[in-house]
């Protein structure tokens, strides 16, 4: 959608005219939904990561928290308040954050290091790769603003974080869907010996999966609802959208199953193969990530290698582009990952 920066936006009209859209369709602003992805009437829980980590630390004295000037924005401030003597503010220095976490892991501690996904994946990559992954150290890297969860433009949109970390040996990648899951992910990744990259939803986080009697198990994909026509395979917030899409499509008599895959690496190959082998279903992989190198291509590769061919294979993912700045609801519609966009896409594919 990028225009020339020397062209005045058409919607602004001539000098003095135009403005914030119309009364029934106001033009959205970037800071709308800045701290939360929750819809207006959605149930939420505040700071599930910060609260779960604080609770975990009660029983695990080796747990420490580090951040690079983003405690408030990764919910680590909750932990810092509960355990001030175990909190390390490293300043805005992501490379240092990671190196120092590695050093503390070498001395037997279990660091939870937080920043935004872009700054871990891009700036600190070499430090994570060599200091942590290659040594297989017990560091948990927990990152807010995964994929397209901010309207600030490419500097803050971690649209390729999973592709980046999938290429890194030893590291486990977790992409939780909601507050209910995040609470369970925290102790589970602590119980796992080795490096973990976790995508974080922060602030007032939607609460969805408790209604499905769901429990998180590291490395396990789980069916949240069954369906005969379409199987949506999804992770992170796209699972929330997949469940809404399934409801919307059931009104059109399309029967949609949802397989939630919160652990992207290592992939639960057995469950994915079992569900995609069932005849007569279109497989749709939905992810809050570029179409390059994420869950979709991971599943596609697995199916090809295994000789499993669903009725059709489709991806709901972000385009291979630097994305626009703007309000998240606008961008999610524009790039096809809103519930409405996903529902329309699937209808078109059927």
């Amino acid at each position: 959608m990028r225009r020339s920066k020397y062209t005045r936006p058409a919607w602004l009209g001539e000098q003095g005219e135009g403005g914030q859209g119309t009364a029934d369709k106001p033009r959205l602003t970037t800071s709308a939904m800045i701290a939360s992805l929750a819809g207006a009437d959605q149930r939420t829980k505040p700071a599930p990561f910060g609260n779960a980590l604080s609770a975990l630390a009660e029983t695990r004295p080796e747990v420490i928290g580090l951040t690079a000037d983003l405690a408030k924005y990764t919910d680590l401030h909750v932990f810092a308040k509960a355990h001030p003597d175990r909190f390390y503010q490293m300043g805005m220095a992501e490379q240092l954050l990671i190196s120092a976490a590695a050093g503390m892991a070498r001395e037997g501690f279990m660091p939870f290091a937080t920043t935004y996904a872009v700054f871990a994946a891009r700036r600190a990559y070499d430090f994570i790769c060599m200091a942590i992954a290659e040594e297989n150290l017990n560091v948990k890297i927990v990152c807010a603003l995964p994929g397209l969860t901010t309207g600030y433009g490419p500097s803050h949109q971690a649209t390729e974080d999973i592709a980046i970390f999938r290429g890194m040996p030893n590291i486990t990648i977790v992409d939780p869907c909601d507050a209910h899951e995040i609470e369970q992910v925290v102790p589970a990744i602590a119980a796992h010996q080795g490096p973990v990259y976790m995508r974080l939803l922060r602030g007032n986080v939607p609460l969805v999966l408790d209604e499905y009697g769901y429990t998180f198990e590291l490395g396990k994909a789980k069916m949240l609802r069954d369906g005969n026509d379409v199987l949506i395979i999804s992770s992170g917030l796209m699972t929330m959208r997949a469940l809404e899409t399934a409801k919307a499509l059931s009104d059109d008599n399309v029967d949609v199953g949802v397989l939630h895959v919160p652990t992207i690496k290592p992939l639960d190959e057995a469950t994915i193969l079992k569900e995609t082998s069932r005849t007569g279903r279109m497989a749709v992989v939905a992810e809050n990530h570029t179409i390059v190198g994420g869950l979709g291509e991971a599943v596609a590769g697995l199916l090809m290698r295994s000789g499993v061919f669903p009725t059709a294979f489709r991806q709901v993912a972000l385009p291979d582009e630097f994305l626009d700045a703007g309000a998240l609801p606008t961008l999610h519609d524009r790039y096809g990952i809103s519930t409405k966009a996903m529902t329309d896409s699937i209808k078109g594919w059927l």
Binding site: P9, R27, L70, K72, H77, M92, H156, D324
Partner: protein, 291 residues
Amino acid sequence: MTTSTGDAGRQASKPPMSNLSLADRAYHIRRHALRMGEVQGQGYIAQALGIADVLAVSYFHAMNYRPEDPEWEERDRFLLSIGHYAIALYAALIEAGIIPEDELKSYGSDDSRLPMSGMAAYTPGMEITGGSLGHGLGLAVGFCLGLKRKQSNSFVYCLFSDGELGEGSVWEAAWSASHWKLDNLIGIIDVNNQQADGPASEVTGFEPLAARFESFGWHVQRVDGNDIDALVEAFDAARNSTEPKPRIVICDTKMAKGVPFLEERERNHFLRVEPHEWQKALELLDAGRTA
């Protein structure tokens, strides 16, 4: 006059006695910023109010540019490393006539040329994309080397922040700039003693800042960044110095300067301002101007 060198040079701000037209510019920049802030209802307003005097002196005293031709080859380059300060730079670009004033109502809105985080591809007069912090000074080294190769007389101004000093890339660039004797580089640091998680002096601490840059081989000045006369003197000294060194002007600023009830807020990295408070903020800004 509060221009001085060294960390000991921090002094209380005094009302500017001269350069009233620059004070007018700074007032307008603050006004544009508040009106943009109102569009979002929240954001980096305190930074914009704090840095307005520095931008006024940069754009209306120090820099050479053509508003009608933002890419004029002989312009001085202004690199905004701190992308979140875009609201402040847009206000200056509006005041400089590079962006039409009525466009401020599109700040941070869908399909605007004024996104919340500054990007070169979106906005006339925005030289770099700065939201991933720690990029600006390294880019400035490259701009300066390129300009020197072209035998250009243009200066490169690079605005970065106290929080940004945590990034190692800033210090790589600081080292390199003095190695290459980049006397066409004028770094400006906004020391507002604030970053995302709290006061910069507490998050990790950055002093003694002047001594640090001196030890890296820079021509260093530290001024009250809300004192226009002091800024004028410092920018003149930076441009006119014959020392073969990059120059840094360390500016101690007050966040939300000019709007007393916002100045008092503590958590001001990302300010929330209630809808009814915007008018009050504009009125207080006006009152402070006439006082």
